[in-house]
Symmetry: C2
Subunit: 166 residues, 2 copies
DNA sequence: TTTCAGTTTGTTACAACATAACATATCAAT
DNA sequence: ATTGATATGTTATGTTGTAACAAACTGAAA
């Protein structure tokens, strides 16, 4: 595992992982639910970077640790992690990412870079407010929202410009 | 085919279908692309109501008309219809709906009712504007956006209230 | 009218994603 | 020790989607 150069904003990813795992551990304790070995391993695998991860990739990567792992093993762990809010499902990719904002926990905007595969979560408060207004106008009661934007992130855009010049 | 009572706003659905097919026919002519029999039949099947339709359901329903139909038959037609903007893929359902706003053609908000399965498209201009601002803030270049909200529509909410009282 | 290129469809096979159903194991509380 | 709740093992299957190549169609140029 390396500190990727692909990340949309360069950062010490070790911190991301540590924070995510510590927070998950604490929240599980508070909620009286179990962060079992399998669940924690899946969470760690998801957090290896900021890419969206496929379920069957997780399955391959967990096999060295859990030789008995089958699809259900992964999907059950994913279900748990989603229910606890530790990860998000990216609907448009059939994939999963770690949640960067465990504490604030509001629904977020996902910016998915097709070039580097990073997914950035953004609270996007202004968007969420106008959405709330729209729901009220429509008389619509929200259970779940997925706001997924595909395109090219700022970092990749800049890289592409640099390459054009060079 | 009946004029459904489930629609989020009661309407003469025959008009929806006619408008969609006429507009599609005209746009294909203008663009020099072919609205073949298969493609038109798939479009008609999708437009039978305002529900999101699954690819394999379309496959079953087109077989009386196209006995040779296979998955690829449907997915090719769907790819074409999406490329022309006549239908949308609903990412969070792995399903497809007819586009209600062929002319204006901007990306829209999808309100997906889990009770009646209707999907309502809304231009939601205020939301789109704050989204655009967010993309600018992030330096993100958008290629495709999916804004999919699951919940209970106004009609079903009202029905549920009425049932509680009765 | 032939021929040629581009497009569409037929066909087979398979890849990728996800769940059902039932058995087994673990573990804390009674 | 028994029980109930939770978690995992295991097998099978269901669902969604694509690759690859062959055949047919279409329209325009030679």
């Amino acid at each position: 595992m390396s500190i990727s150069t692909e990340l949309s904003s360069p950062h010490n990813h070790t911190n991301c992982i540590a924070t995510a795992l510590n927070t998950a551990t604490q929240l599980c304790f508070e909620r009286g639910v179990q962060l079992t070995a399998i669940r924690q391993q899946v969470l760690e695998l998801i957090w290896e970077n900021h890419h969206a991860v496929k379920a069957y990739d997780l399955l391959e990567r967990i096999k060295p640790l859990q030789s008995a792992a089958k699809p259900a093993t992964i999907y059950r762990a994913l279900d748990f992690l989603i229910a606890q809010g530790f990860i998000h499902r990216v609907e448009s990719l059939n994939a999963f990412i770690g949640c960067c904002n465990l504490k604030t926990a509001h629904e977020q905007l996902l910016l998915i870079c097709k070039q580097c595969n990073d997914v950035e979560e953004r609270p996007a408060n202004a968007v969420m407010q106008s959405l709330a207004q729209e729901f009220q106008n429509a008389g619509f009661t929200v259970h779940h929202q997925a706001i997924e934007i595909q395109g090219i992130c700022a970092t990749c855009s800049q890289l592409n410009k640099d390459e054009e010049i060079a």
